[in-house]
Symmetry: C2
Subunit: 201 residues, 2 copies
């Protein structure tokens, strides 16, 4: 019986380390592992530890990659004049999926958060500034998320880069495509009104 079984609890706790996984879900995963054959479980764990070793950070853009530099950093088809700054590797994936961007990226892998002791040094922002100075970047698009920390990080980067004379833009915030006003939160709606554009008719 698995209730109050220490080994089973350890297995459940291992799965609870995954993001967004509570006790019930972790139990379901743990029971699945026990019901699987040893070969299946070995293949599962082998895949995880092997790929964790094979995928590293690109030393240019700090994104995850199995090559260094990554395919985007070495690509001649990507516009080196544009540098999009995102918080996490998932941001690069989201923008690439949208298909609306042909420039290069820089992944912060975090946001400024003074309360958590994460300042410009901890975030390695000097590496970003160095990159902007040595490359011929013409426009920096700051695509950190629209949270307090995301906004603060965007403002800090913009402030630091201003003396370089490079164009700095922020992605637009507003009503998501397909969404009704009644389902849009107040803050987003205010941003959407402030960011209104002339409509050519």
């Amino acid at each position: 019986m698995l209730l109050n079984n220490k080994l089973f609890d350890n297995l459940v706790n291992a799965f609870r380390s995954l993001p967004g996984v509570g006790k019930k879900t972790a139990e379901r995963y743990a029971l699945h592992v026990l019901s699987s054959t040893e070969e299946e479980v070995n293949a599962f764990v082998e895949t995880i530890s092997r790929i964790r070793k094979q995928i590293k950070r690109c030393s240019e853009c700090q994104d995850f990659s199995d090559t260094d530099p990554c395919t985007i950093c070495v690509s001649n088809e990507r516009d080196g004049d544009l540098l999009c700054i995102v918080e996490k590797p998932s941001g690069v994936m989201a923008i690439e999926r949208s298909g609306g961007y042909r420039g290069k990226y820089y992944v912060l892998n975090g946001l400024l958060s003074p309360l958590d002791g994460i300042g410009p040094d901890e975030l390695g922002l000097s590496r970003l500034f160095q990159k902007v100075m040595t490359r011929k970047v013409k426009e920096i698009i700051i695509a950190t998320s629209a949270t307090n920390e995301g906004e603060a990080t965007a403002l800090y980067i913009a402030h630091q880069l201003k003396p370089l004379g490079v164009k700095i833009t922020r992605i637009a915030h507003g009503v998501p495509m397909g969404a009704g006003l009644e389902l849009t939160d107040d803050y987003t709606l205010r941003q959407a009104l402030e960011g209104r554009k002339p409509l050519e008719g």
Copy 2:
């Protein structure tokens, strides 16, 4: 960049083998693994494969256990007159959690499903029947789930065990405690009406 990266896709697919995990959730788990240190990932996979090896089936009741026979099967405090038949190890956990049962268990690890080619032989029902015959079981409580297959399996077991003269019961189906009638489905409500009991006032 991880979009269309074959290694990353393999990692995502490994997580998709977990129950109820779709593409988005698997991606989140995969990104978490890449963001964790190698030590953290090694500890995670080591826990899974070690505990998968340590927890086996109890040869008596077929439940998961790290001892054989399991703690319930060897316990003198559990009433051997009562045998509760459940579909899966999670059923034993749920009943033990409820605290309302002091008998022993037998885990089918499946249900009869002729369309999937799972008959009495595949389910190893003869082992259950053998156990009932050789032990002095006085009452068998069939606690398979209230699905078509659960009901069919319950009826089949009851039919096969009838000649032994043992008392065979089925757990009650009805309106869950705390639930309103308007949220209870039709089938459950019919079962609740059929299973009505005299109220001592």
